[in-house]
């Protein structure tokens, strides 16, 4: 992005990791990369909300998927009560619906993408000299 690619070295990488979990893109904002932070927040949170809408709101439940979904941190925790409210027990979920599967996939991918974003924020602060333009 157009904001500074070299982050402030005095900032704590672990704080960036924690902030990135709490708010997608928070780690980049903490490091001064506001453009990337806004982009990551929009995409990760948008994917999570889209997944909830596609899956009928009952996609964040006590299942193995939750491990991936929880990587999106704050937004997942904020949306979790909605799923619990709409489906207090698993019997009320339409497991045969393909839309429910896609919604679950969206939310899980949002979590895994946020894990990638968190690691990027951490590495940029932990290793500021590391070349980034190599992909």
């Amino acid at each position: 992005m157009t904001d500074s690619p070299t982050l402030l070295p005095s900032r704590s990488p672990l704080a960036a990791l924690a902030l990135g979990w709490l708010i997608p893109g928070g780690g980049h904002a903490y490091g001064g990369q506001w453009g990337k932070a806004i982009l990551f927040f929009s995409l990760v949170t948008g994917l999570l909300v889209a997944g909830m809408a596609i899956g009928g709101g009952t996609v964040i439940l006590y299942r193995l998927w939750l491990v991936a979904q929880l990587c999106a941190g704050g937004p997942t925790i904020a949306l979790w009560p909605i799923s619990q409210y709409l489906a207090p027990s698993h019997a009320e979920v339409d497991w045969a619906s393909r839309w429910h599967d896609v919604g679950t996939l969206y939310t899980a991918v949002a979590g895994l993408l946020n894990l990638l974003v968190m690691m990027d924020a951490y590495l940029r602060l932990a290793y500021p000299e590391r070349g980034k333009e190599n992909a």
């Binding site: 992005m1 157009t2 690619p5 990337k36 982009l39 990551f40 995409l43 990760v44 948008g46 994917l47 889209a50 596609i54 393909r98 839309w99 599967d101 896609v102 996939l105 969206y106 991918v109 993408l113 990638l116 974003v117 990027d120 980034k132 333009e133 190599n134 992909a135």
Partner: protein, 73 residues
Amino acid sequence: MWDAIAGFFADLVSLSNPLWLYYPLCAVVAVVYKTTKLDDPRKIALGAVHFFVSVSLGMFGLGLAFYLISQIF
């Protein structure tokens, strides 16, 4: 067999089939992944398009191959 292959393509873009939701998902993954790797917006855009096309073609080829195998056996 050709009817079945045509049906595969027709169903892939049908709004009633949630498979079309793969495209925005792949686009988001491409943009996020390339943004973590690159800093220049132009390189990010080009890299994301390249990523999206490569992964889509790969997934499409894989899906078609599995579909043909399922039709043959």
